[in-house]
């Protein structure tokens, strides 16, 4: 019954989305307020209908209703509550429903909150968002229905892949989809602006909060996924340049570029066409990602729901939406007036360079991801593009962007004073170079790459701080004045500082971890030990323990430094009878910013013939920073977003003023 209610709601949502398109479009064409309002109401109702469908699937998972095929394939009565809920979005069908929920949710948010938007623009945007809803809901209802019944009903479900039964991964998809699908609003606003034929500073201001929200969620989602890979896969890797990771990274890069170019459009009226182009590109890359992940055209460690037929449908959706968006762009964008003029040394120029590097980096990631596919289609030859390619192409582009980054916020709009900026950044540059040189000279083993990375990370962190110091006149004004200035800084400025700081923190963590991680592995009998990163590890004992839906072997490994015990690691090796799979549960000892990472391997006889276990240990210096950095960036985005009240206030005042002007005219 519940499943039928869900299936019905899904089809109802499809009908409501179609109504949303028709009503909003008619309202826009006829200039009719009631029709527009009805379209907005349909957007809200479509969201509620998908919410009911989503609730129905959740109930089916919670009650382990194995008559629903999707539940039978992805759940199990023994599964803990959190993973029964996470199972809802653990499969292709369920995650597509989550995608639709987010899509209609953002559509409803635009329809019901965007009071300050001009009426025509808003109606066009709501209609576009509705059209996206129609495409994805139709795909969900007709080709990926999660409510299909099974007959005969199995007694037990096949359970969720145990690797996915993890808190970070349970939360990873909702954040990730919030990001991917959040860009749909930006896409709709761009299409609406092209239809209306007008892009101005006010449009850029409306686009920015949605971009910020989507980008922050995507940042958090990617960081959660990387953290999951780091501690769940059992060898300490957190980024593999895998096609599916690249698929999530490309919208992130485009979103970052859009955040910056929208500022130029908002403040200076320049880069109008480019900002619209990025707004279309961000969601197009999200859809490309959905296609790559779900179609199985690329082999990936994350492959899920590989189905060429569904892939073809997704490719068609991508082609139709991105194709019409960019066609509209090609038709309407040339008419946009070029915006404000700026000198080669100015904040605009620094943001243009930022966009140049981010766009080139995105193109590189896209090329590296799709080249094997294109080459195979063209010549039949199969090649692999691995991490080394991205390290050689992507990393230098990003390093160049990082080098100019601290100068940007210090430059004035229109015409900047390069000499002044250089003076203000001298201390930061000096300290960063010193950090790199000292790292190279003092840290054993000597690594040039790691030292350069430390220098760049320090430059970003110190540059972000230098900007705050400059704004608050620290050291040049009295303490009271500095405090007053710090309190007076807008939230947007703090958000930028946090974002740039987060990038620096990430670079420091990524370079130090990659450069100086250490590894050690031995077959140990109880009482024996190994050494890694200056720590001595001793296997105290190992024995069997029972989990809720698994059987485990748990080892107790005492970790000591200079003779004193610092922590006890308890790595596990879990066997899940439901799926017949074995996973390893890593034990992490937090040592400040660094991790000691202990993995329990298989039971095996030692060289001396005693019974023992294979124990692997990794010393991952500064690994915490790899995940702290993106969290700071996401927090920066949210802080900046909280500045929105100000932005909406300005927009509302302006709307009121334009209404007044309309009345007077």
């Amino acid at each position: 019954m519940i499943a039928e209610l869900g299936a019905f709601s899904l089809v109802l949502a499809l009908a409501l989305s179609a109504a949303q398109v028709a009503l909003s479009a008619a309202g826009r064409i006829r200039g009719s307020e009631p029709l527009r309002r009805a379209g907005e109401g349909a957007a809200g109702a479509a969201f509620l209908a998908v919410l009911v469908a989503f609730g129905a699937l959740t109930v089916s998972f919670l009650t382990s209703d194995f008559s629903v095929a999707n539940v039978a394939a992805n759940s199990h009565t023994d599964k803990p509550l959190l993973y029964k809920v996470a199972g809802v979005w653990g499969s292709h069908e369920g995650s597509l429903l989550l995608w639709c929920l987010t899509l209609t949710g953002f559509g409803a948010a635009v329809a019901l909150t965007g009071e300050s938007l001009p009426k025509g623009l808003k109606a066009s945007a709501v209609a576009t968002q509705g059209a996206l809803g129609v495409l994805f809901l139709a795909f969900a209802a007709f080709a990926s229905n999660p409510f299909l019944r099974l007959n005969p009903v199995p007694v037990e479900g096949r359970s969720l892949n145990p690797l996915l039964q993890d808190p970070a991964l349970a939360l990873h998809p909702p954040f990730l989809y919030g990001g991917y699908v959040g860009f749909s609003v930006v896409f709709s606003l761009a299409v609406a602006a092209l239809i209306e034929g007008r892009v101005d500073a006010a449009w850029a201001r409306w686009v920015r909060p949605w971009t910020l929200a989507a980008w922050s969620l995507l940042t958090a989602g990617i960081a959660l996924g990387a953290f999951w890979a780091y501690y769940e896969l059992g060898w300490g890797g957190w980024w593999f340049w895998d096609p599916v990771e690249n698929a999530s990274f490309m919208p992130w890069l485009v979103g970052a570029a859009l955040l910056h170019s929208a500022i130029v459009t908002e403040k200076r009226g320049a880069l109008v066409g480019w900002t619209v182009f990025l707004a279309l590109a961000a969601f197009s890359f999200s859809m490309l990602g959905a296609f790559l992940v779900r179609s199985g055209v690329l082999t990936s460690v994350h492959a899920f729901a590989v189905d060429p037929a569904r892939g073809l449908v997704l490719l068609a959706i991508l082609g139709v939406t991105a194709g019409s968006g960019f066609a509209l762009f090609a038709w309407r964008a040339p008419a946009f007036a070029p915006g404000g003029v700026f000198a080669p040394i100015s904040r605009e120029s620094s943001l243009v360079l930022n966009n140049l590097f981010l766009a080139a980096a995105t193109a590189t990631v896209l090329l590296g991801t799709l080249y094997p596919l294109m080459l195979e289609a063209a010549t039949g030859e199969t090649i692999s593009v691995g991490p080394a390619y991205f390290n050689l192409t992507f990393a230098p582009l990003m390093a160049a962007a990082a080098l100019i980054l601290p100068a940007g916020p210090l430059l004035a709009w229109k015409r900047g004073d390069l000499k002044g900026v250089i003076q203000r950044l001298t201390a930061a540059a000096g300290l960063a170079i010193a950090a790199a040189v000292l790292t190279y000279a003092l840290v054993e083993p000597r690594k040039a790459f790691g030292a350069v990375g430390v220098g760049i990370g320090a430059w970003l962190v110190l540059g972000a701080l230098a900007e705050v110091i400059e704004r608050a006149r620290v050291g040049r004004a009295r303490a009271g004045e500095v405090w007053r200035r710090l309190k007076g800084l807008p939230r947007g400025a703090w958000g930028m500082t946090l974002g740039h700081l987060g990038l620096g923190v990430f670079v420091l963590g990524a370079c130090v971890e990659t450069g100086w991680k250490q590894e050690s592995a031995e077959v140990l009998a109880p009482g024996r030990g190994l050494e890694v990163g200056g720590y001595a590890l001793r296997l105290d004992r190992a024995g069997a323990v029972d989990g809720p839906n698994y059987l485990a072997e748990r080892a107790s490994v005492s970790v000591s430094k200079d003779g004193s015990t610092v922590c006890t690691a308890e790595p596990e090796r879990r066997f899940f009878p439901a799926g017949g799979q074995t996973t390893s549960e890593v034990a992490l000892c937090f040592r400040g910013l660094s991790d000691l990472y202990v993995v329990l391997g298989e039971r095996r006889a030692t060289a001396a013939g005693e019974p023992g276990w294979l124990v692997r240990a990794y010393w991952n210096p500064w690994a915490r920073l790899i995940f702290l950095g993106p969290l700071l960036m996401a927090a920066g985005g949210l802080v900046s977003l909280s500045d929105r009240r100000l932005r909406l206030g300005v927009a509302a005042r302006r709307a009121a003023a334009s209404a007044k002007a309309e009345a007077a005219a």
Binding site: D200, W235, A303, T364, S384, R654
Partner: protein
């Protein structure tokens, strides 16, 4: 020589790992083998290097590489051997050859092309001095700066935006 020893020590820490039963007796050779593993694809896996993969074939490929290294082959010889046996697919870093030239050169081309475009637009902007307004522009500016009916020009509003407000 000292530098080289330090570099070797760096790889040694990495080399201590992986399965101890597979390890080569000579630490320097083992270090070279581990470095090679990271750039060789496990050809039956989804997308993993033989350094990461626990698949049986990855284990076989590792022992193959270790044998080659133990027999004194250079890195290039080992790669060529694998290339011969498994094809281009096995190398995680594609070789620079005519088929892959596009892959390696496009990022550079994009960067150079975009920089060139920016350079041109800067020169064009300089050529047309923004300080001097044409007579028509002067007239438009005069019309725009007249007080508007609503009198709402905020500090944020640039002159270009105002005609839209008055049109509506």
């Amino acid at each position: 020589m000292k530098r080289r020893l330090a570099a070797l020590a760096a790889v040694l820490c990495m080399a201590a790992a992986s399965d101890p039963s597979e390890r080569l007796p000579d630490p320097a050779q083992e270090a070279r083998a581990r470095a090679l593993f990271q750039d060789i694809r496990c050809v039956v896996c989804q997308n993993e290097s033989i350094d990461d993969s626990e698949a049986d074939l990855a284990r076989d490929m590792r022992s193959l590489v270790r044998e080659q290294v133990a027999a004194g082959r250079t890195d290039a010889e080992v790669r060529a051997y694998l290339l011969d046996r498994y094809g281009e697919f096995v190398l995680l870093t594609p070789r620079f050859n005519p088929a892959n030239a596009l892959l390696w050169l496009t990022p550079l081309a994009i960067l150079l092309g975009a920089s060139g475009f920016l350079w041109m637009s800067v020169r064009r902007a300089r050529a047309s001095d923004p300080a001097a307004l044409s007579p028509e522009e002067e007239a438009r500016l005069a019309a725009l700066t007249n007080p508007l009916p609503g009198g709402h020009a905020s500090a944020q509003t640039s002159p270009q935006e105002q005609p839209h407000l008055s049109e509506r």
